[in-house]
C-alpha cells in the first residue's frame, strides 16, 4: 500500500504540467519525509515500513515526483541523483520560509 502510494504520487506529479498547481504540500517537509524513510531503511531492515504512515509515504512520493518533473522539464544540466537533491532540500527544514520551491529546486540542481 505504502509503496503504491509513493509510486502513484511520483507518476502523477511527474506528468503534471506545472508544480505550482500542487502548492499546498510543502516541498521541504515532503523531501524530509523521503529522506527519513531512507534513513530508516538504512538503519534496519523492515524499520521503514514500521515507522512510515500512509500520509508520510504520500508526501515522500510528492517530493520524488517534483524532483523528477523538475529535472525532466529543465533544459540545462541537472543531476540525476534525486536522493542527494532531496537531502539538500530536506536540510532546510527549519528555514523553509526563506526560499521558494523553485529556488530550492534550482539550487539543488546547482549543488549536485
Amino acid at each position: 500500500m505504502k509503496y503504491l502510494l509513493l509510486i502513484c504520487l511520483s507518476v502523477i506529479v511527474a506528468f503534471m504540467p506545472s508544480i505550482a498547481k500542487a502548492k499546498s504540500l510543502s516541498l521541504v517537509q515532503s523531501c524530509a519525509e523521503l529522506v527519513d524513510i531512507y534513513e530508516s531503511r538504512d538503519e534496519k531492515k523492515f524499520l521503514a515500513s514500521q515507522r512510515t504512515s500512509l500520509s508520510e509515504s504520500f508526501r515522500a512520493g510528492y517530493c520524488r515526483g517534483v524532483l523528477e518533473q523538475h529535472r525532466a522539464s529543465n533544459n540545462r544540466h541537472c543531476s540525476s541523483d534525486w536522493y542527494k537533491r532531496a537531502k539538500f532540500i530536506a536540510a532546510l527544514r527549519n528555514h523553509e520560509d526563506r526560499f521558494s520551491d523553485s529556488v530550492l529546486l534550482k539550487k539543488s540542481c546547482d549543488e549536485y
Binding site: 509513493l6 531512507y38 534496519k44 523492515f46 515500513s49 514500521q50 508520510e56 520524488r64
Partner: protein, 193 residues
C-alpha cells in the same frame, strides 16, 4: 510520525540541584499521564502508548491482544497482577470512554518501571520467558513488541502456526501481511533509489 502523548507541559529553564531542567505537567493532564504510565508498563513503547491513546482502532486491537496474553494469569514473567483491577483495567480500555478523563485501574502490584534491574514492561519481561510459552503466546509477545526484529520472529512462527481461535487466525493473517508489506516496501525503496 507523532509520538507525543499530547501532554501539556511548561518548561522552566532553571536547573534543579541535580542539574536537570524542571517540567511541570498541568493538573488537567494527570489522568492522561496516569493512563500513559500504566499502558507503558504493559507495552514499554511510547509510540504504541500514544497510538492507543489517540486512535480507537489501535486501542481496541491492543486491548484484545493484551487480554489474550494476560487473561487468567496473576503473574506474567515475574510481574504480579491484581486480577480484580485487571478486569476493571480492560473494561475501561475496551470502552470508548475518554482516557484523558477517566483513569484506568492499576493492575500491577508493583509497576514494572519501578522494579530494579528488571525489565521495565510486561512485554519486555515476557520476552525473557518465551521458551516457556506456547506458540500462540510467543506470537502475541513478538507482535506486541512491535520492532523490526520481532515482526520477523512473529512471521516465522506464524507461518507454521495453526490458529485455534478466530482472534489468532486474524492475527496470523495480519502478521503475514505486515511482514510481506515490510519486505515489499524495503525492496521497492531499493529499486527506486
Amino acid at each position: 510520525m507523532d509520538r507525543s502523548l499530547g501532554l501539556t507541559t511548561s518548561y522552566l529553564p532553571v536547573g534543579s540541584a541535580a542539574g536537570r531542567a524542571k517540567h511541570y505537567i498541568s493538573s488537567d493532564n494527570l489522568t492522561k499521564l496516569h493512563n500513559a504510565i500504566l499502558l507503558h508498563g504493559f507495552f514499554g513503547d511510547v509510540r504504541k502508548v500514544a497510538a492507543i491513546m489517540k486512535e480507537a482502532s489501535a486501542r481496541q486491537e491492543n486491548a484484545q491482544l493484551l487480554q489474550q496474553l494476560v487473561v487468567g494469569r496473576s503473574v506474567v514473567a515475574g510481574i504480579l497482577m491484581d486480577q480484580h483491577a485487571l478486569g476493571r483495567f480492560f473494561e475501561l480500555l475496551y470502552s470508548d470512554r475518554d482516557l484523558a478523563v477517566e483513569r484506568l485501574a492499576n493492575p500491577f502490584i508493583t509497576l514494572p518501571q519501578l522494579q530494579h534491574d528488571g525489565p521495565s514492561s510486561l512485554i519486555e519481561a515476557a520476552r525473557t520467558e518465551l521458551s516457556l510459552m506456547d506458540p500462540s503466546d510467543q506470537i502475541l509477545v513478538h507482535y506486541l513488541e512491535d520492532t523490526p526484529d520481532s515482526l520477523q520472529s512473529a512471521a516465522a512462527l506464524a507461518a507454521s502456526y495453526e490458529p485455534k481461535s478466530r482472534l489468532m487466525a486474524q492475527l496470523k493473517e495480519r502478521i503475514l501481511m505486515d511482514f510481506e508489506e515490510a519486505e515489499r516496501f524495503d525492496t521497492f525503496l531499493d529499486e527506486i533509489r
